[in-house]
């Protein structure tokens, strides 16, 4: 429809419903583990993949068929740890467990367009590497007019940084971290004591105990609403209800981090976000058995202080050789070579990492790291229909994303990508006609097609309208 395509100058509103079901036919289905199905068929119904197979796979009659002859069909890639699309992320308030990246996501950011253009279908937006406790994150789709439409998993994880923030040292960093948890405990104890007394008041027979005992007994009565808003997230985290993305830039930070996590009995909830030097702690990380997200810089450079000899280590190779799954992220975002996720994976192959490892590091393992390994990361029945139709191999320089399905909906189509029109045609495009535009119906927001594992945030409340009186 001409009008809607004019209106959809913003790709964010460009999701096109293909109907309840869609099928991608004729392409080479490439899985992260390297398996291929030639002339394969992927069927997506209600946002989820229902069938993956060869040419004989039945396609539901109602399905919209996307032809992919000669193309490669690959799962959507995942940014497992990124600030892409955030408007002024919090990177200065040190103890901020209460802030929420929800308040910082810019749905209109052109960076989300770029995600779709480069085959990324899931984004874990998280801030706070330069803090001590950096606040709650959110897993989103890179498309939608409002954060709630983008949301895949709200309030997903908490960022904790073991690496000192700018201008501080490791002693301060760890001291502040421990103090935050101590302050939390003091607050919870005080609330618990008060709750104990309140409960005692209700009883006929009152039992007086020492404050410590009162706090202990009152804890059972404490609900999250009793706590000050500033401590609620951290309380949940301390009880192991929230995954922790633990930023450890250097190997020594990994040691400190693991020690602290053990101490706090939270190691099982940790995902490590590590810098290049942390490859020296690959053994410890392997022993910890938790997901590892590598920094965008993949090469560790070091100068021997005695000989002055410079050495370079390609970090993913170290992890691959150690048999430790890792997740790649871009260095910066877009336009730079290493700002592209696929390129990071291609670099890994270039440097001798097995191809399936490189592919998994941007899909399946990334999905695992954000706790959605069963939902995302490959094209398999039951998983979400996040599928990219590529012009060639995902790690090939010349490959482009031709179409992208987001939960079975066409979220990106290179053929209608305005940003690239000049490149494709050599002609600058005129702006959409101003006359035609106002008469067009407003684009419907891209409501989630698939049943999310968790429902999106509450729909807009009807009340509170400003209709005056």
């Amino acid at each position: 429809m001409v009008l809607s395509s004019l209106l959809a100058a913003s790709l964010l509103a460009a999701t096109t419903a293909l109907g309840d079901s869609a099928a991608v036919r004729g392409g080479t289905i490439l899985q992260p583990d390297g398996t291929r199905i030639e002339k394969g068929i992927v069927v997506i119904e209600d946002g989820k993949v229902t069938a993956v197979g060869g040419p004989e796979t039945p396609i539901p009659a109602a399905a919209t068929v996307l032809e992919a002859d000669g193309k490669v069909v690959f799962p959507g890639m995942i940014l497992a740890h990124t600030q892409v699309g955030l408007d002024i992320p919090n990177e200065n308030m040190p103890i901020a467990p209460f802030v929420n990246v929800y308040d910082s996501i810019e749905p209109n950011s052109a960076e989300y367009e770029e995600c779709l253009r480069t085959g990324i279908t899931t984004v874990h937006a998280i801030q706070g590497n330069n803090t001590v406790i950096g606040g709650l994150s959110r897993i989103i789709r890179p498309q939608g007019d409002m954060v709630e439409y983008m949301t895949v998993r709200p309030d997903y994880a908490l960022k904790i940084s073991i690496t000192p923030r700018n201008g501080f040292n490791r002693m301060t960093q760890l001291a502040e971290l421990r103090r935050a948890f101590a302050d939390l405990k003091a607050h919870v104890d005080a609330v618990a004591e008060r709750r104990y007394e309140e409960e005692q008041k209700k009883k006929e027979e009152k039992v007086l105990v020492l404050p410590d005992e009162a706090a202990k007994q009152g804890l059972a009565h404490v609900t999250i609403d009793d706590l000050d808003a500033r401590w609620r997230t951290l309380w949940r985290a301390s009880k192991g209800e929230i995954p922790l993305f633990v930023h450890c830039d250097r190997a020594m930070d990994v040691s400190n981090g693991i020690a602290w996590l053990r101490e706090a009995k939270l190691l099982e909830k940790a995902v490590f976000v590590v810098g290049t030097e942390a490859h020296k702690a690959a053994g410890a990380l392997k022993q910890a058995g938790r997901p590892v997200i590598l920094s965008g810089a993949l090469v560790h450079k070091e100068t021997d202080p005695l000989t002055g000899k410079e050495s370079e280590v390609f970090v993913p190779k170290v992890f691959a050789d150690a048999g430790l799954p890792f997740v790649l992220q871009p260095n910066g975002f877009a336009f730079n070579a290493d700002g592209l996720l696929w390129y990071q994976a291609a670099r890994c192959v270039r440097e001798g990492v097995a191809r399936d490892v490189a592919l998994k590091s941007v899909t399946q393992w990334a999905a695992d790291a954000i706790g959605m390994g069963d939902t995302l990361g490959s094209i398999a029945p039951g998983k979400w229909g996040n599928v990219a139709i590529l012009s060639g191999d995902p790690l090939d320089q010349a490959t482009v994303v031709e179409k992208l399905l987001l939960e079975g909906r066409l979220a990106y189509d290179r053929a209608t990508d305005r940003r690239l029109k000049e490149l494709a045609t050599g002609q600058e495009l005129a702006a959409p006609s101003a006359e035609a535009a106002p008469t067009a119906a407003p684009a419907a927001p891209a409501a989630p097609a698939a049943p999310a594992t968790e429902p999106p945030a509450a729909p807009p409340a009807g009340g509170g309208s400003g209709s005056g009186k």
Partner: protein, 452 residues
């Protein structure tokens, strides 16, 4: 954006010549208020001293005169957008008594006749975003990111020269709000632009809660992220809500009397939706946040101010929630996606906010208060349908602030806030010559000199 000739025609013929039809020198000399004897169908009434006489500002202490304003056209800007040609407006006790055709409405005895033949009568305009009603040094306390307990009421200065200029631009009601250097800078006050004391001018206090979400608070401290600013604002409002429910419970006999808080008591009206939160909000992310946080989560009566930059792509969302969008001081947005200059009002309309909910503001002194009508001119210049220009100046802001029962249109029973213009105020060549506030002549270009 079809421009119906029917609408345009009167403008084309509207005389820009002096309304009295006399030679211009004489017109300047002659007071607009005609000698009562000359008034058709009316017997002379006592002509209050000063009015139509000495060039001075009236005082509220004087009794409100009874006026019969005779004009060529009345733009009522009522919900039905009624236009009355060759009309007379009767004003009594500070309120509009009647609006009708001269042939149908007899001017009763004792009414002072204002001869506005050739002129248009339009409602006094309403500015939702003004900082000049008080002293500019009182704008903002800037101590914390959110400052509950501050109230712009205490800054109101009715003798303010800027307010007098407003009268010369036909602006009769403004919402005076504190500045936007921090997220929550205090309550706003709705005032009339004419009066001698704070009591005279205040229409409603608090008029609104001012929240600023973008543009200036980022500079607070050494730069503060969006997520903390918004958490802090939300946290303050949640505390206020908690405070309100405790009091409500007490008042309904369900709980103990809470401790009075000077910080949060003012919020009770906000949470009861007695007044709105007017939000200095712009750019897409921030306006989306305004919608999702203040409107959806906290359920506040939310009015968008500024509403600039790419935020205009959110029209569908505001329309869905029936929200008012007040645009200004910027009128245009350079759209890098489509490489064009987009009129903000037209964009809001295009993206879905089409339910007559678009207004304009000045952010005076960013733009001079008297230039409010030019904001509508610009909006129309950049694509807002012409018939939405006048509502954007009067009815829409009045509705947005919940004071449409008093101001914003020329209908019987409403405050007699009337401006006489040489033509359509949206036409930049038109000028305001005569302004009535609360039924009192507040500005008469003939006797007081034309300010503007």
């Amino acid at each position: 954006m079809s421009l119906s000739l029917g609408w345009f025609a009167p403008l084309l013929v509207a005389p820009l010549a002096p309304y009295s039809g006399e030679a211009s020198d004489a017109a300047v000399a002659a007071p607009l208020v005609a000698p009562a004897a000359a008034a058709p169908a009316a017997s002379p009434a006592t002509s209050p001293a000063g009015i139509g006489g000495a060039p001075r500002w009236g005082t509220a202490a004087e009794p409100a005169p009874r006026l019969a304003i005779v004009v060529s056209k009345v733009m009522t800007v009522a919900e039905n957008d009624a236009v009355v040609d060759n009309a007379v407006i009767l004003v009594k006790d500070g309120r509009i008594e009647k609006v009708g055709r001269q042939s149908e409405v007899a001017i009763p005895e004792g009414y002072q006749v204002i001869d506005g033949k050739g002129l248009w009568a339009v409602p006094g305009f309403v500015d939702c975003h003004d900082h000049v009603g008080g002293g500019l040094s009182d704008l903002n306390d800037g101590v914390y990111l959110s400052n509950p307990g501050l109230d712009s009421l205490h800054t109101i200065d009715p003798e303010n020269e800027n307010v007098r200029n407003a009268l010369a631009g036909g602006v009769t009601t403004v919402l005076v709000i504190p500045g936007s250097g921090n997220n929550m800078s205090g309550f706003g006050t709705i005032i009339k632009t004419w009066g001698r004391s704070i009591d005279d001018v205040v229409v409603r206090s608090p008029g609104s809660l001012k929240i600023a979400q973008s543009g200036n608070p980022e500079r607070y401290w050494y730069g503060i992220g969006r997520s903390f600013m918004n958490w802090n604002t939300r946290d303050t409002l949640l505390r206020a809500k908690k405070y309100h429910s405790a009091w409500k419970a007490f008042e309904e006999g369900r709980g103990a009397k809470p401790e009075y808080s000077p910080y949060f008591h003012g919020f009770r009206g906000l949470i009861d939706k007695k007044f709105p939160v007017t939000v200095h909000t712009q750019i897409y992310q921030v306006v989306a946040e305004t919608i999702q946080m203040l409107h959806d989560e906290l359920g506040l009566w939310t009015v968008l101010d500024h509403s600039e930059f790419d935020a205009c792509e959110l029209g569908a969302e505001t329309a869905k929630r029936d929200m008012f969008v007040i645009v200004g001081p910027r009128s245009i947005h350079y759209d890098r996606r489509d490489r064009r200059i987009a009129g903000l009002c037209a964009e809001w309309l295009r993206t879905g906010n089409g339910k007559q909910k678009l207004g304009v503001n000045t952010d005076a002194p960013v733009l001079p208060q008297e230039n409010l009508p030019l904001q509508a001119t610009y909006a129309v210049r950049f694509g807002l349908p012409r018939e939405r220009g006048l509502p954007a100046l009067s009815r829409v802001p009045a509705q947005a602030l919940g004071i449409f029962d008093r101001v914003g249109s020329l209908e019987a029973g409403k405050d007699a806030d009337i401006a006489l213009w040489t033509g359509d105020p949206v036409d930049p060549s038109s000028a305001c010559l005569f302004t009535v506030v609360n039924g009192r002549i507040a500005y008469d270009s003939k006797t007081m000199g034309r300010r503007y």
